[in-house]
């Protein structure tokens, strides 16, 4: 079980203030959520925001995750991509009114997001994970950023960088952004959640590419979409390489970054669009 950093002290993680009074004649079947009367329990028929949540064996957390997700906007649909689940994740998600896409085999978070994005109807697609409960107040800035014209709104978080040698994945994120000509993004990456994209971005880069997030990021930058690091959520999840040596997940993420660089080169040439200075290469053979 990996460590998930708390976003706030436990006490402040109350989902939202409870309603002051309990109606005496609350209809049966709704009483169990009487304290959240304003949050609809169903997906909005014409959603503005689609929240996409891949989940594998997260029956314990999924309800809380969906509740927070649903609170980001009044017109929200929640899509849970349940994959490889052996518990009751699907049931728990359906009970919370989410649209559930169920797959028997594990897909992986990135493929899950890609699949979920294809089913999304909203103008804004917000991606988060099911293994940590991020309060809706921490999710809203991403939605607001897309509403105000950002195409790809990233989490402005990378992990610990106050040392001389950082984790390879952090280094890869920073370097890819530099090579994309976007050092201002620092280590912000579509590899990390939460992040949100506009429908325009989805149409421009395609839902398929979301399964390799750094490639999606490279495509977004190359197609001149507005990519910005909008808000920092301290998800203490950066380091797949916690187990020392040969972590397959680290390999996966690093390989993804190299694929993104190859895609950049396909788009902008062998130097990624950077100049060759005053070099007279023909002078030396």
């Amino acid at each position: 079980m990996r460590h998930v950093q708390r976003l706030r002290p436990r006490r402040s993680r109350v989902r939202r203030p409870s309603a002051p009074q309990v109606p005496e004649t609350a209809p049966i079947g709704l009483t169990y959520r009487f304290f959240e009367p304003l949050i609809p329990k169903q997906n909005h028929p014409e959603p503005l925001v689609s929240v996409i949540i891949p989940a594998m064996n997260e029956a314990g957390k999924i309800a809380a995750v969906i509740a927070e997700a649903r609170a980001v906007h009044p017109a929200t649909e929640v899509i849970v991509v349940a994959n490889g689940c052996r518990d009751h994740t699907e049931m728990a998600a359906e009970r919370m009114g989410a649209k559930v896409l169920a797959f028997a085999d594990p897909l992986g978070n990135d493929v899950g997001r890609s699949v979920g994005a294809q089913a999304a109807k909203g103008q804004i697609l917000l991606f988060t994970d099911s293994d940590m409960v991020i309060p809706s107040s921490e999710l809203k800035p991403f939605v607001h950023a897309v509403q105000s014209g950002v195409d790809v709104a990233l989490n402005d978080y990378t992990g610990p960088t106050d040392r001389s040698l950082v984790h390879r994945v952090i280094l890869a994120k920073y370097t890819l952004n530099s090579m994309l000509g976007r050092p201002d993004l620092r280590g912000a990456s579509m590899t990390a959640v939460p992040h949100a994209i506009s429908r325009r971005a989805l149409q421009t880069i395609g839902a398929e590419i979301l399964s390799v997030p750094p490639k999606a990021q490279a495509a977004a930058v190359c197609r001149e979409l507005r990519v910005e690091a909008v808000h920092r959520v301290e998800v203490g999840r950066l380091n797949p390489g916690r187990a020392a040596g040969g972590d397959p997940l680290e390999k996966l993420v690093l390989g993804d970054h190299l694929e993104a660089l190859a895609a950049l080169v396909a788009e902008r040439g062998v130097r990624g669009g950077f100049h060759d200075g005053e070099r007279r290469r023909s002078m030396v053979r």
Binding site: P106, S164, G255, G277, R279, R281
Partner: protein
């Protein structure tokens, strides 16, 4: 320790260099630190030797070299600093000193010519430092070649470590800039690109050390395996050196960063030199991908395992 050894050797008499070489072979200096410690140890030994023998031994003292060292200096409008650079080089036992003066409107050519025994190549147009180094490498005839720029004098003491390293089988002897660098969050883009390339090539131990920085020394074998044309793009040369399994080691720290900081073109965010070097690193990675595939060594995970692990993030 070295002072005492020097004093004893001085009492015995004979040539200081040979005595130092012998002592070095017997003294158990840590192998990984040898080249880093060498200038200090050599100076101590020399002082001890001078004190007991009473003879004048020029510094830096170096153990006898088996191969012939060449040095290539690239200079572009560097008349001001070139004499100081060459004065330091003259203190070392070079087989040849080659100065590639290119695109210079000042007195660089005359400054280089004023030194005896210096081979000066004059090219009217600007070539860029890396191309100039490639031309110098091609003209050189030594067994190993030290590369240095005409704009910053480096003490002969520090340079001696590169020569000894190259003479003792280090194919690519790099400047160890790590002690000069801040923590990652305050590093510049170029430093991060250098580290990224090394780590993607499986050479984490090199950290941010790169052929992009001078001084560095290459063995003839390294130069031939890399190819003269590839020397023009140092990160690409580094990729090829790693791929060829050459012995690459960061041997000694020379502070080039504070000089770089004074150069107007190589300063601040988004400077032209930084963009050139970032482009070089992209080119270098593409070169690596040609033979190892797009994911280099980071792809040997089955798709199923990917899926499971992906969920585990």
């Amino acid at each position: 320790m070295a002072v005492t050894a020097g004093r004893l050797a001085g009492r015995r008499g004979g040539a200081a260099a040979a005595a130092f070489g012998q002592w070095l072979a017997s003294a158990a200096l840590p192998a990984g630190q040898l080249f880093r410690l060498l200038p200090g140890v050599a100076e101590s030994f020399r002082r001890g030797f001078v004190r007991s023998s009473g003879s004048q031994i020029p510094s830096p003292l170096m153990p006898p070299l088996a191969g012939r060292p060449s040095v290539v200096v690239s200079a572009c409008n560097e008349a001001g600093s070139l004499p100081a650079v060459l004065r330091e080089l003259k203190r070392l036992p070079f087989h040849e000193i080659i100065v590639v003066v290119n695109g210079s409107q000042d007195g660089s050519f005359a400054a280089a010519r004023s030194f005896d025994g210096v081979i000066v190549v004059h090219i009217a147009e600007r070539l860029g430092h890396d191309v100039a180094r490639g031309i110098g490498a091609k003209l050189s005839t030594g067994d190993f070649v030290l590369f240095i720029d005409g704009d910053m004098p480096v003490s002969a003491h520090l340079l001696s470590a590169f020569l000894v390293a190259a003479d003792r089988g280090v194919d690519v002897a790099l400047n160890d800039i790590m002690p000069l660098l801040p923590a990652f969050d305050r590093q510049d883009e170029v430093t991060r690109c250098k580290t990224f390339l090394n780590r993607m090539m499986g050479r984490d131990d090199l950290e941010a050390n790169s052929m992009t920085a001078v001084p560095h020394a290459l063995s003839r074998r390294a130069i031939e395996m890399i190819g003269y044309d590839n020397l023009a793009v140092p990160p690409k040369a580094q990729t090829l050196a790693i791929r060829a399994g050459l012995r690459i080691q960061a041997v000694q720290t020379v502070d080039v960063l504070s000089v770089n900081r004074r150069r107007t073109l190589n300063r601040g965010r988004d400077n032209p030199v930084a963009r050139l070097i970032i482009g070089d690193h992209i080119e270098a990675l593409m070169e690596a991908m040609k033979s190892a595939g797009t994911r280099l060594q980071w792809g040997q995970v089955s798709r199923d395992e990917f899926a499971i692990r992906r969920n585990g993030i």
